[in-house]
């Protein structure tokens, strides 16, 4: 049972409050939101900051974690919440097949080199020009939203690109001010 002590030590050292590993199917999303809400409701945070954290978690769970139909039955996604010096970090990780990896990598490269104003225009364009969004556009919108809400404080990594699958980790920082 040593893993219990090791896990709590790792969590405490990096100020992680919560870690959830799942496939984040829709039925569970509600429970995930309620557990995150309880984590941030104790802090004396401005309601706008809480909303930003919450919105990013919603985007992570609904559009990043639960979007890969090929992996929908296994618990291949992970969501973590941690407190950092100036705010909160939301970390999301999900397993991707090559096709989705290439698509997301292209979107992320493009977004990360855009300014917040450019992203706002892009978001507006996507929403206003299309009545129904395709999966890839939902993902793009979710990622744009994360960058805007965190004012660009987003880091991402692709890990373990062996065979057909790889793991994408996105860290989104929401500052307290």
């Amino acid at each position: 049972m040593e893993y219990t002590y090791t896990l709590q030590k790792l969590m405490a050292e990096s100020n992680y409050l919560l870690a959830i590993r799942d496939n984040f199917e829709s039925l569970l999303s509600k429970s995930v939101f309620s557990i995150v809400e309880s984590q941030i409701s104790n802090d004396n945070l401005d309601v706008n900051i809480k909303n930003r954290i919450f919105s990013v978690v919603v985007e992570c769970v609904q559009n990043i974690c639960s979007n890969d139909k090929a992996h929908s039955t296994s618990k291949n996604s992970i969501l973590l919440l941690n407190k950092v010096e100036l705010g909160h970090n939301i970390v999301v990780g999900t397993k991707l097949n090559t096709e989705r990896k290439n698509r997301l990598e292209q979107i992320l490269t493009e977004i990360s080199t855009s300014s917040i104003d450019e992203l706002k225009i892009k978001r507006k364009n996507i929403i206003s020009t299309r009545a129904t969004l395709e999966e890839s556009q939902k993902e793009e919108l979710a990622l744009i939203d994360m960058f805007i809400r965190s004012t660009g404080k987003v880091k991402y990594y692709f890990q373990g690109e062996d065979g057909n699958d790889c793991f994408l980790i996105i860290e989104i920082e929401i500052s307290n001010n």
């Binding site: 002590y5 709590q8 969590m11 104790n42």
Partner: protein
């Protein structure tokens, strides 16, 4: 891009290896407990397991979370030892694991109580439970091992425990693991 945070990588790797689906580490209060119960309830509902098993898991979880809320301690200086709760889902059973610092003076008592509970069969546990309830009413000593007996009765499995050394002269880290089978025998 910088390399992924090592602790994040380690947490994810241990979660995968141990089949952990939920970890909470930090202060336990009523809201946190409520949200963890609601998360687990949602999870169990979506997994389609038997109502009786669901109820059992829920009751044991309430008992363990109440226990940890009551006995939590954090080393205020270092903030590196905190109580934690881990939910593990295996193919045939769930594990509920709690961890919390425990004062060295109480370790032997806790150990004796769990060993006693683990050494009894269902009938003997029932009798011990009755006796412990009576004793706690008379002496008003909260708990008196009642929680361990209750959990052992509900899970029908042995309780697993361990004590780990931490950087403290007065405390160790106590971990308790219960197992609830998905299928009733």
């Amino acid at each position: 891009m910088a390399l992924m945070d090592t602790s994040l990588k380690q947490i994810h790797s241990i979660m995968n290896d141990e089949n952990a689906v939920l970890i909470y580490s930090g202060e336990f209060n009523q809201d946190i407990v409520k949200s963890m119960l609601s998360y687990t309830e949602g999870k169990l509902e979506s997994s389609g397991i038997d109502d009786l098993v669901r109820k059992k898991i829920f009751n044991v979880m309430v008992e363990q979370l109440q226990n940890i809320t009551k006995h939590q301690y954090t080393d205020e200086e270092k903030q590196v030892v905190q109580p934690c709760f881990i939910l593990i889902e295996q193919e045939n059973f769930y594990n509920l694991v709690t961890g919390n610092p425990i004062h060295i003076d109480t370790i032997q008592m806790v150990k004796d109580r769990i060993d006693q509970v683990n050494g009894l069969n269902a009938e003997e546990l029932k009798a011990l439970y009755k006796q412990a309830r009576l004793n706690s009413r008379i002496s008003e000593v909260g708990g008196a091992g009642l929680g361990f007996i209750d959990v052992a009765r509900k899970t029908e499995n042995k309780l697993e425990y361990a004590f780990f050394d931490i950087e403290s002269a007065n405390y160790k880290y106590f971990t308790l693991k219960t197992q609830i089978n998905k299928i009733i025998q």
